[in-house]
C-alpha cells in the first residue's frame, strides 16, 4: 500500500501519514522498500512472496523474466547458495550458517534430483531469501512433477499428495529408488525441529505439511495462495534473534 492509498483510505493529510509512517519505521513495526514515489511499506517480520507463489501456481508457463531468483541449473543454484554467507552480516549466528546452507541445499537439490528431464515447463528452481525484523525467510519452488508423482513410482500404495509429503519428510523412501537415498528431507526436518525458533512448510499439489515451532506460520503463508503449486514450494523460517 502506498502513502497515496492511505490518504484516500484514512482521510488524513499526507503530512500526517508520513509522520505516522516514520514513527512506525523507527519502531521497527514496518519496513521501507524502494525510494521516492515508488516507496513501499511492509509489515515487519512478514515475507513478500507474491512473485514466487504466483510463479509456482501459474497453470500456464509463467510469463516474463523471473530474474535472478530462477536457477535454471544445479550449478547456478549452488553458486547462489553461497550468497547465504552474507547473512552473518545481518545477524545470523556463525554456528547457524552451516545449517541454514545445508538445509536450503538439500531442498534446492531435490528440485533437480527429482525433476531433471521431467519439468512441467520451466526447468530449475526459484530460490530467494529475505530478512525482515530478525527473521530469515527462504523460499524454494519448482515447476516439476511434485512429490506425489515422484514417490508413487516407487511406492504405489501412497494414496495422495498429503501422504506423499508426510512420507517424504518422515520416512526413508526416495523417488530415485533403487538408489540408496532419501535422507535429505529427514535431515531438514531434524534441523528445524531441534531448534527453538525455526519452521518449515512444504506444499505440493493438494498436500501441505509443516514442522518446527514456526512451521504453522510458514504453512499460513503458503496456504494463503488460492491455487496449489504446479510442482513443489517450500518455505523456511529461521529466527535470528
Amino acid at each position: 500500500m502506498r502513502p497515496n492509498d492511505l490518504k484516500k483510505e484514512l482521510g488524513i493529510t499526507p503530512q500526517a501519514i508520513h509522520r505516522h509512517l516514520r514513527s512506525m519505521v523507527a519502531a521497527s513495526e514496518i519496513e521501507v522498500i524502494g525510494r521516492g514515489p515508488k516507496t513501499l511499506y511492509y509489515i515487519a517480520g512478514n515475507p513478500r512472496l507474491d512473485k514466487v507463489l504466483n510463479w509456482s501456481a501459474s497453470n500456464d508457463r509463467p510469463a516474463g523474466d523471473p530474474g535472478e531468483s530462477n536457477c535454471e541449473t544445479r550449478d547456478v543454484f549452488t553458486a547462489r547458495l553461497s550468497h547465504l554467507s552474507s547473512l552473518t552480516k545481518t545477524g545470523l549466528k556463525e554456528e547457524d550458517l552451516s545449517l541454514v546452507i545445508s538445509v536450503a541445499g538439500e531442498i534446492g537439490n531435490n528440485c533437480f534430483d527429482h525433476n531433471l528431464g521431467n519439468w512441467r515447463d520451466v526447468p530449475g528452481c526459484w530460490f530467494e531469501f529475505q530478512v525482515t525484523a530478525g527473521r530469515l525467510w527462504i523460499c524454494i519452488a519448482d515447476r516439476g512433477q511434485g512429490v506425489f508423482r515422484s514417490l508413487r513410482r516407487v511406492d504405489p500404495s501412497i494414496p495422495d499428495d498429503q501422504s506423499a509429503l508426510i512420507t517424504a519428510f518422515e520416512k526413508t523412501l526416495s523417488g530415485r529408488a533403487p538408489e540408496n537415498r532419501g535422507n535429505g528431507l529427514k535431515f531438514v526436518r531434524n534441523i528445524i525441529v531441534v531448534g527453538e525458533k525455526r519452521g518449515v512448510a512444504c506444499r505440493s499439489g493438494a498436500g501441505i505439511v509443516d514442522y518446527g515451532s514456526l512451521g504453522q506460520e510458514c504453512r499460513s503463508v503458503l496456504a494463503v495462495h488460492p491455487h496449489p503449486p504446479i510442482g513443489t514450494v517450500t518455505l523456511i523460517l529461521w529466527s535470528m534473534i
Binding site: 549452488t78 547458495l81 553461497s82 554456528e95 545449517l99 546452507i101 545445508s102 533437480f112 535429505g184 535431515f187
Partner: protein, 87 residues
C-alpha cells in the same frame, strides 16, 4: 592418510558433487593396506547429508567401513549429516 575436504569447496552439497568428489579422491589417494583414511572438515563452511553420504558410501565401499573416519569437528552441518547417514 588425511583428506582436506576444503579442497573440494567450502559448501559441499548435492549427490552429483559428492559422487564426483569421491571419484576424484579415489583417483588421487593410494593408501597402503590397513592405513586409515581421515576426512578433515577444517575450513569447510557447510556440508549436506547427500554429499557426505555419496563420499562415505564410495570410500567405505572400496576401503572398508572401519578404515574411513570423519575427524572431530564443531561444524553442526557435519554433525547433523552424520547423525542422519549413520542412523
Amino acid at each position: 592418510m588425511r583428506i582436506a575436504l576444503k579442497s573440494y569447496g567450502t559448501i559441499l552439497t548435492s549427490r552429483p558433487a559428492g559422487r564426483e568428489a569421491a571419484l576424484s579422491m579415489k583417483a588421487h589417494i593410494h593408501p597402503v593396506p590397513g592405513e586409515m583414511i581421515e576426512l578433515d572438515f577444517d575450513g569447510v563452511l557447510s556440508v549436506g547429508p547427500s554429499w557426505l553420504d555419496e563420499v562415505l558410501s564410495s570410500l567405505r565401499g572400496d576401503y572398508g567401513r572401519e578404515r574411513v573416519i570423519c575427524l572431530p569437528t564443531k561444524n553442526f552441518s557435519v554433525i547433523e549429516s552424520l547423525r542422519v547417514i549413520d542412523a
